[in-house]
């Protein structure tokens, strides 16, 4: 019986694999060290993203101010600590930390210099200009930037833009702006009759467009995750 069930079980696959983990060694005073860490995160925002981090506590005595909070401080910065090494002898203060596996051994690789994010260059945002009317059933998809239409967008047409959408004729179809996650994108129409308005995933159906703005020049923007339709007037 036992033999039978053993035979039907699938064989186990056990493999060894090595991953590169980053080792962070905090120094006292911890408040200064965290300040340096923040500066580093600012320079290369994606550096720690999704990477396993081992916290090396060799440089600490175990009595530093803020050590109890350190784990939470790092967690709040999206730094994923998978383990701790170099535990100080008096480590009572770490009792409140999650029970991480204590690592020993390991082989040092060179010191890693975090890359520095390239500064945002002053290049123009790409835009897509269309002079023809957009017919029912047509879809314009431009995730790179703004879409400008110097004509009308028919009912049953759809405009998708990474940035803002400008329609200098009548907007009768669907306008979906900010699809690349831009909540500051807007929709402008000389004649607002849209079937659907959406910015960065928040949307408004046609019937919610204020009556007084229907067929009038209007702009659409996102304020606190709510779509607002406003008259297209000169603002102070």
């Amino acid at each position: 019986m036992v033999n039978n069930s053993l035979r039907s079980l699938p064989p186990l696959q056990i493999r060894g694999r090595s991953f590169l983990a980053l080792v962070l060694s905090p120094k006292a005073p911890l408040s200064n060290w965290l300040f340096s860490l923040d500066a580093q995160i600012k320079r290369s925002s994606q550096f720690f993203f999704g990477k396993p981090v081992i916290l090396n506590l060799e440089l600490l005595t175990g009595h530093e101010d803020g050590l109890e909070q350190l784990y939470n401080d790092l967690f709040a910065r999206n730094i994923q600590i998978i383990s701790i090494e170099g535990l100080p002898a008096t480590s009572s203060i770490l009792k409140s930390w999650p029970k991480n596996f204590i690592l020993t051994g390991g082989r040092d690789i060179d010191n890693i210099d975090p890359p520095i994010d390239s500064l945002p260059k002053n290049h123009p945002i790409p835009c897509y200009i269309i002079d023809e009317p957009i017919r029912s059933g047509q879809t314009i998809f431009f995730p790179e930037g703004d879409v400008i239409i110097t004509n009308s967008v028919a009912s049953g047409a759809e405009i998708n833009a990474g940035g803002s959408i400008h329609v200098y004729g009548a907007l009768r179809g669907r306008a979906i702006a900010g699809i690349s996650g831009q909540s500051k994108a807007r929709i402008f129409a000389n004649q607002m009759e849209a079937e659907l308005l959406a910015i960065n995933g928040y949307y408004m159906a046609s019937e919610e467009i204020p009556e007084r703005l229907y067929t009038k020049p209007a702009q659409v923007l996102l304020k606190e995750n709510v779509i607002h339709v406003m008259p297209l007037l000169k603002t102070k």
């Binding site: 023809e132 009317p133 017919r135 029912s136 059933g137 047509q138 004509n151 009308s152 028919a154 009912s155 049953g156 047409a157 009548a170 009768r172």
Partner: protein
């Protein structure tokens, strides 16, 4: 230089077949050589409206599949010598319309006729796409009604993107023909008005055909309205439209049937 014209609309029942017959006959009456082709394979109607249903032996699909020659399939109109019809097959479906087959027939027809008028089926599927594929010009038929206008808009988009001309980077010339225009309803504001239609579709208007009993009567007779009642309001509108199609500049008007006291009296006593 012969011209290939597609009569299309997207929506059904707006008057494509009636218009094909009326325009075909009106052009042929001026002495031009005209062929009308029914692309509605499986639901053929043009032969009925043209009154040639009892003379169909071979059809369009027979020619595409090499079962008959073009001259065998072309039916000469009995009333006008320069008018011919190529009927659709009622027993096949639209998959039988191959691009190469249609191209071969249209090229052959171009040698024989001045005008090749393709009557498109409703919808945006294969039949409709094949009917417009080789067109030089398109007459988009719209009724003054929102769903018809939206469907026409869709068809214009397809004309601009999938036809042979569009693929070559050229444009199919487009004309708008408003049909079933009811003058009395327009006066009451019950109908979408012409300016709104033109604003939405933004293609030039080639004519407005008034709603008329003459059209229904013509269809039932199997005679294009431009032959059965050439002086009726819709016939005059169609005649003006073909003049505009040929490049004449005529102001767009909506013809009406004059109804005097005696007409009313006669109608009552009929």
């Amino acid at each position: 230089m012969s011209k290939v014209i597609v009569i299309t609309s997207g929506k059904g029942g707006v008057g494509k077949t009636t218009t094909t017959a009326a325009i075909g006959a009106a052009l042929a009456k001026t002495g031009q050589k005209v062929v009308v082709i029914d692309f509605d394979v499986g639901l053929r109607n043009l032969d009925l409206v043209m009154g040639s249903e009892r003379r169909v032996v071979f059809d369009f699909i027979n020619v595409i599949q090499g079962e008959a020659s073009l001259s065998q399939a072309l039916i000469k109109d009995k009333r006008i010598e320069t008018l011919s019809i190529l009927a659709a097959s009622q027993t096949r479906d639209k998959d039988a319309l191959t691009e190469d087959g249609v191209k071969k027939i249209i090229d052959e027809l171009k040698e024989k006729f001045d005008w090749i008028i393709c009557d498109s089926p409703a919808g945006i599927e294969r039949g409709a796409k094949m009917a417009m594929h080789f067109a030089d010009e398109a007459i988009v038929i719209t009724n003054p009604e929102v769903s018809s206008v939206r469907d026409s808009d869709r068809i214009i988009g397809i004309l601009d993107s999938t036809t042979e001309k569009a693929q070559k980077g050229e444009k199919v010339i487009k004309h708008l023909l408003i049909t079933r225009y009811a003058t009395n309803r327009a006066a009451h504001g019950d109908m979408l008005n012409t300016d709104d239609i033109l604003d939405i579709l933004s293609i030039p208007l080639i004519g407005i055909i008034p709603e008329s009993d003459e059209i229904l009567r013509a269809s039932n007779l199997g005679t294009p309205v431009t032959l059965s009642a050439p002086d009726s309001a819709p016939s005059r509108a169609y005649t003006d439209a073909i003049k505009r199609l040929q490049g004449e500049k005529i102001e767009i008007t909506i013809p009406t049937d004059k109804k005097g006291f005696f007409d009313w009296l006669l109608k009552r006593n009929r």
